[in-house]
């Protein structure tokens, strides 16, 4: 087997040195009746070429050749080949969690840079080394708010990503959280009067997403003002990180839960991505996850270490702030490299292109009779439209043109029949948008006739 570095003679020599006759002797501590005597029924062994062929065949059964207008928490963005070149260096790819700081300075300094970039993006004071994804980061942010406020009621915007709300409910069910939903208003943003009626002094946190699931940008500063008297914390989830290049950062939030997939990570059918929690300095000891900090050695040289570990499971066990151990370090490195490549100007330009293309797409779609915009709050690169009939039926027509159309919202929001969520990024060309618009015009007309 090509991955195993031993010849038969070497194995025999090692067995002899140990003083046993056969390899089976080394498994004698497993009760005999539990030892397998037949080979497992597994496909393989495959040569490298066979493995590649298997996965190429599977790739051919997916969506290659289609143009997609899906976003909803996972975004198609340009990525430089430099990012993958760096993260495939064995020194990053095949190293462990940097507990041994003297031989892990590369990883540690990169984490420190990641934490800094996230602070700059979000307007927060500290950020951790990563969480599993945006959904678990949001949940951990809520658990953190619960610890800080010692309160149990959590108000969650109905416009927070439905799958993020699901994850929060799964975790919250057994930690005594009471989760209540806050409506969205006619403009698609949080209904602030509805919020005020739900606010009492037992609320741990309000959780909003901005831009929210419908694409609407929330007024974070106003929400923070509105919460202040109640003592509840404001948790802001950001699923589309590129928006931070152009949209005011959620600096007034107490905790930000960011999904960093947009920063150099491919959609990869849903993961691995990179969540991260950013917050204010005063809450740092209640944060979950690893943190890299600056330190000096005995010669006064600057270095970096994992720090404030007294929050973590390997030290605190059942009293830890979270059970997270393995995180998404390599994805955080990809985000760090990607953001460094983009830099200040590149990120702004990418964000401006998203905004411009989404605006253009909306104006093209609104030329189609019977299509209207669902909400009028400002948006970044996603917006919600209302079609003359079911989004599913329209999408079936679009698929014939090799277009993956809007995400149908009626399964997620029964109160929103015929609503579809459209995402347009810098990767979408004008020709894609025009083809989509004409396909949609036709699909709506056909769908109309069928009815």
């Amino acid at each position: 087997m090509r991955y195993l570095p031993k010849s038969r003679a070497e194995r025999d020599a090692m067995l002899a040195a140990i003083g046993v006759k056969s390899i089976d002797d080394l498994f004698s501590s497993i009760p005999e009746r539990y030892r397998l005597h037949e080979a497992l029924k597994l496909p393989g062994p495959y040569a490298e070429a066979e493995i590649i062929r298997y996965f190429k065949d599977r790739a051919g059964e997916n969506s290659l050749g289609h143009t997609s207008f899906l976003g909803a928490g996972v975004y198609n963005h340009l990525r430089s080949v430099v990012t993958d070149t760096i993260i495939q260096r064995g020194e990053f790819l095949t190293s462990y969690t940097p507990y041994q700081a003297e031989i892990a300075q590369g990883t540690l300094q990169a984490i420190f840079e990641f934490q800094t970039l996230v602070c700059q993006l979000t307007g927060q004071e500290v950020a951790n080394a990563s969480m599993w994804d945006g959904s678990t980061a949001t949940t951990e942010a809520v658990l953190m708010a619960e610890r800080i406020t010692r309160r149990r009621r959590v108000l969650v915007a109905r416009s927070l990503h439905p799958q993020y709300r699901d994850v929060l409910r799964t975790y919250g069910r057994n930690s005594g959280l009471e989760v209540e939903e806050v409506r969205f208003g006619a403009d698609g943003a949080l209904d602030q009067s509805g919020l005020q009626s739900m606010l009492r002094d037992d609320v741990a946190a309000l959780v909003v997403q901005s831009p929210n699931f419908f694409g609407a940008i929330e007024s974070v500063a106003e929400l923070a003002d509105g919460l202040r008297a109640s003592g509840a914390l404001l948790v802001v989830a950001v699923t589309e990180g590129v928006s931070l290049g152009l949209v005011r950062p959620p600096a007034e939030a107490d905790i930000v839960a960011l999904e960093g997939q947009s920063f150099g990570l491919p959609p990869s059918y849903g993961g691995p991505f990179v969540g991260v929690i950013a917050t204010q300095q005063k809450f740092v000891r209640q944060m979950p996850g690893r943190l890299a900090g600056q330190a000096a050695d005995s010669q006064g040289r600057r270095g970096f270490v994992l720090t404030l570990a007294a929050r973590e499971q390997h030290i605190r066990r059942e009293k830890a702030t979270s059970n997270i151990c393995t995180n998404q370090a390599l994805c955080a490195l990809a985000a760090t490299v990607h953001l460094t490549l983009l830099g200040k100007e590149g990120l702004r330009e990418m964000a401006e292109q998203n905004l411009s293309k989404a605006q253009f797409a909306l104006s093209e779609l609104l030329k189609i009779p019977d299509i209207r915009r669902a909400f009028d709050a400002p948006f970044f690169n996603e917006f919600t439209i209302v079609l003359p009939r079911s989004v599913e039926a329209v999408n079936e027509q679009l698929l014939k043109e090799r277009i993956v159309g809007p995400l149908a919202l009626d399964f997620l929001y029964p109160e929103m029949p015929n609503h579809g969520l459209v995402c347009v990024t810098e990767t979408t060309t004008r020709a894609d948008i025009e083809k989509f618009a004409s396909g949609l015009r036709l699909a709506c007309a056909v769908a109309w006739e069928v009815r």
Binding site: M1, Y3, L4, A13, M14, F27, S28, I30, Y34, L36, L40, P43, G44, K56, R58, S63, V74, S80, R89, G90, E91, F92, L93, T94, Y96, T97, Q100, I103, G106, E113, T116, D133, T136, D166, Y171, L244, G245, L246, P266, Y269, G270, G271, P272, G293, A295, D297, T307, Q313, R316, E318, T326, L330, V337, T340, L341, G343, K344, G346, Q359, I433
Partner: protein, 497 residues
Amino acid sequence: MSDRITKASRHVTQNEGLIFEKSSPGKRAFDLPPLDVPAADPRKTLGRNHRSEGVSGFPEVSEIEVLRHFTRLSTWNYAIDLGMYPLGSCTMKYNPRVNEFVARLPGIATEHPLQPRGLSQGCLKILQLLEQCLLEITGMDAITLQPAAGAQGELTGLLLIRAYLEGQGNARKKVLVPDSAHGTNPATAVIAGYEVENIRSDSHGQVDVEKLRELVTEDVAALMITNPSTLGIFEQRISDIVAILHAKGALLYMDGANMNALAGVARPGDFGVDVMHLNLHKTFSTPHGGGGPGAGPVAMKKILEPFRPIPVLVEKAEGELALEQDRPHSIGRVKAFSGNFGVLVRALAYILAYGPDIRQATEDAVLNANYIRRHLAGVFELPYSLPSMHEVVFSDAIQKKNGVSTMDIAKRLIDYGFHPYTTAFPLIVPGALMIEPTESESKEECDLFIDAMRSIAEEAATNPELVKSAPHTTRINRLDEVTAARKPILRWKSGRI
């Protein structure tokens, strides 16, 4: 450089500051294709939400500077690609490069998790085949690939147990955790809403079966064991443990961190485990990447199947695969979308490379650990003498007499060209040296490691200061972690050095 050190020599590495310190306004390393639609005016469209000043402090550098920056940083890391990484419990094995290649294929990396089922059959077939392979390896009945890492797998497993027991009328109060367990076990039990009761190991480092018999009452939901344990020893009385739990209606959870000792040799499903997680970034070779990402699939017996987290992979009529969201008894969703798919792809590529020969990998892993044990026993104290499987745990009791601790020996190992073993864990061994070579090490590499450890033991006896002040060959020496934690500096700010 001592002539005892044969594996490594010194070489020059480049100095490199923080990227923010290299920044100069106007430089950039990324160009976009020109905008092909009318430019929107962000002030108009975003109004007061417009971030007109851009992201303050963001780096401004060129492409070559980015490449050099991160390449220089990379040279400061130790890695599997450089040599043995004997971290016990972490299973630092070779990360095959074909796995990286296939995970990045167009049609794999490019796929959106919400795209129509008809355009996702390739992804779903990959998930199905991986599920089948992992069930065959574990001997279990059902599986979920959703959890993002081992700790999330543990939580998923305990929530399954809770849902099942609730269905029986009582979720119960306590989870038992051996004192040799990973820290994630007790931390997870609390999130699942259980009290943690620690159970002491017996004089052989095994679960104290008599003590267990006393502790297991109708209040106990489950015992979380690691098997082989964190000492690298198979639980001899596993069938008694299972019987005691099941007699009281409690279930057995197995932390699969040490599955590298069992794959192809024995199956947890056969020896009575009710639910377990796997760490694909350990046993199934997906890269650790400096701390992640991983994946923590959870395999279970039939009784727990109805409670699996959504989405659940199902086969529809005519063989079409689908991710089902509507499952009335499900514990809910543990992560957005569908698991760490890219990690799952890599794990399947690993399994396909071995097929049934995965047993050979397990045998080589156990062979290496026993070979090292044979050569170091006596040089270092072996606190528990039962047979080792894939890892061996020594203590620093002999070296402690000269004031040299496991951490000192670990740091000195760096000078010899190796990554340290796991120090000070499991907690039941004071001053533990936990060594897991994995199957990826040749006899030659094992011999070099043994020579290095023997040499350090000698240094600890004759020149303890040399060991206590190690490492001597790294860019920096031991960092002041106390000050770093007392006055944390967690981000760069302009003006600070």
